[in-house]
Amino acid sequence: MATEASPHAVRGFAIEAASRDAVARRPNQLLRNLNAKIAAIPMILTAVFVFFGGTIWTIVYSFTDSKLLPRLKWVGFDQYERLWEQNRWIISIENILIYGALSLVFSLVIGFVLAALMDQKIRFENTFRTIFLYPFALSFIVTGLVWQWILNPEYGIQSVVRSLGWTSFAFDPLYDQDIVIYGILIAGLWQGTGLVMCLMLAGLRGIDEDIWKAARVDGIPMWKTYLLIIIPMMRPVFITTLVLIASGIVRLYDLVVAQTSGGPGIASEVPAKYVYDKMFLGQNLAQGFAASTMMLLSVLVVLIPWAYLEFGGRRRNV
């Protein structure tokens, strides 16, 4: 090739040749990482911008006075003060605490008892499991609506019991401020305990069979074996299930919207509903941000100690 090359072209050519050389020396390593990195781009983008960035953004903007649109006007802890003065918020916190505590306790107890019964080498195990688990396949909206119908005072449970003779029986959660949260609890337990039962059953099945034999030879009655030997052995399963349930409780939203729409009045308000209503219906973004930051805090309070116990401990041992 007798073409005359300009100095720029020559230099560019030299640089290109040099970098090609570098790549040629370790082609596999660079390319290998590159492909994996390309494949992981969605995860990286999501983790950074949505999960991490989005959360930080919301927290930052909770310190502003954004109304209809986000606005960077700093107001310090104003939103939080106002939040905790709102009756609606206080009620939603109370509700979520009652619902959370009862849901946790009952889910674990019912789930474990069902799992223990299913573990007794019974017939029709698959049938029973199908029955206990199918609610989990349904939407919370479906669950809320059907239980709303069942708890209907005119046609539902109250009327049935009354027609059987107990004419003064009153069970009207949907219209009674004091017990509406229990109506929601019944529906929530109906949907969620099947999952807990499955997890407990898996945990039970993982117990060494010889432990049962040894307890039998020792003459320990079955209930005592469960209580004093098996349950302590299942501590990891209980903890995992607990964390799972706890992190899902604060998200309670669809069920309330469907079953009671937050009513009667504001008696069954929950934090998640407060957030949505303020953000998208009430034109009060910053209040919504503050409320959601509070929700985040409540989850972190459970999550961080658990994560430390699970993973921090291991690192120390190594």
Binding site: R32, N35, A36, K37, A39, A40, P42, M43, I44, T46, A47, V50, F51, G54, T55, T58, I59, I110, L117, M118, Q120, I122, I131, L133, Y134, P135, F136, A137, S139, F140, V142, L145, V146, W149, I150, N152, Y155, G156, V160, S163, W190, C198, T240, L244, R251, Y253, D254, A258, S261, P271, A272, V275, Y276, M279, L285, S292, M295, L296, V299, L303
Partner: protein
């Protein structure tokens, strides 16, 4: 009865005579207290679980007059499918009276692309994390997993902004992206755990043969992963079809998914409530995930157990 002596292999001379008394399996009556307690409890609890399904079906097959006369548990005297027809094609949701069918097709158009997209992304992710570790991968993954635990509310608005910027806020595609984003943590975990459990020798042999990232994925990993893909599909179809929060935040009324429409039909109607139509509509909305559930059986259990176990 005297003992018989044998010398051939398999028999040994007994030293004591056969005595009368208990022999064979211990008699265990079918109706022992233990059995009554176990099956009794299970049956009682089953009633609690089956009741709503029964009520849904029974109510949706009655006419309104019959409903007013009876209660939620009474079976229909006269079966009618009119509520179903009305729920599907004529129920009103504020703006129009086209029934749930519109929401159904919206849900289909949301679920199918979301399932495909989220599983494609997550399976590649899990594969990259399991076999091709690179610097920083674990940090991003940890953030991802944390993202699965923190309440969605805290990320709702930033996503609204992002979608508005790219012009997809309120559209089906926007919702598909949202579902893919929030499906990533659990699915990536699922796939990563699965791929890590595959024998490493397979991967190494393929590398020795000269296959690269994509080649190994398509020619070796995918064909071996059918079970986990089915589990992921089950998880996603159920989760996305049943979603309400994202549907109500990120879509405009004409592309509402079925769950949002259902809630509107039942809860926003003023005046006379048509309970049978409501229950028919509820049942219709729950039908798709229920069918998935009953068909998939054990795989469903495996899916939720896998999704629930943290890495």
């Amino acid at each position: 009865m005297s003992s018989v002596s044998h010398v051939a292999a398999g028999h040994v001379e007994p030293a004591i005579a056969f005595a009368a008394g208990p022999h064979g399996p211990k008699p265990r009556p079918a109706f022992s207290p233990r059995n009554i307690m176990i099956y009794g409890t299970l049956l009682l609890v089953s009633i609690y679980y089956l009741l709503p399904l029964y009520v849904m079906i029974v109510t949706s097959l009655k006419g309104m007059p019959e409903i007013r006369l009876g209660n939620v548990f009474s079976p229909p005297l006269e079966i009618t499918f009119q509520p179903w027809v009305k729920a599907w094609a004529e129920a009103c949701t504020g703006l129009n009276c086209e029934g749930l069918s519109r929401g159904f097709w919206n849900s289909v158009r949301i679920t199918v692309p979301s399932v495909i997209l989220s599983i494609a992304i997550a399976s590649l992710n899990g594969y990259a994390l399991a076999n091709w570790k690179f610097k920083g991968a674990d940090i991003f993954f940890t953030i991802l997993i944390f993202g699965a635990f923190i309440p969605y509310q805290v990320m709702l608005y930033p996503i609204v902004i992002i979608l508005r910027e790219i012009g997809l806020y309120g559209s089906l595609s926007g919702l598909v992206i949202v579902h893919s984003i929030f499906g990533m943590p659990i699915l990536t975990l699922l796939f990563r755990n699965y791929f890590t459990s595959l024998p490493e020798e397979l991967f190494k042999a393929a590398r020795v043969d000269g296959a690269g990232f994509w080649g190994i994925y398509f020619r070796i990993m995918l064909p071996m992963s059918l079970p986990i893909f089915v589990v992921a599909i089950i998880l996603q179809v159920t989760g996305i079809w049943n979603d309400f929060l994202f549907g109500v935040v990120y879509t405009k009324p004409d592309v509402y998914p079925m769950t949002v429409q259902l809630n509107n039909i039942v809860n926003s109607v003023q005046g006379v409530k048509e309970y049978n139509v409501n229950m028919a509509a509820t049942l219709l909305t729950g039908l798709v995930p229920l069918i998935v559930y009953f068909v998939s059986g054990k795989l469903f259990v495996r899916g939720i157990a896998a999704g629930a176990v943290k890495g």
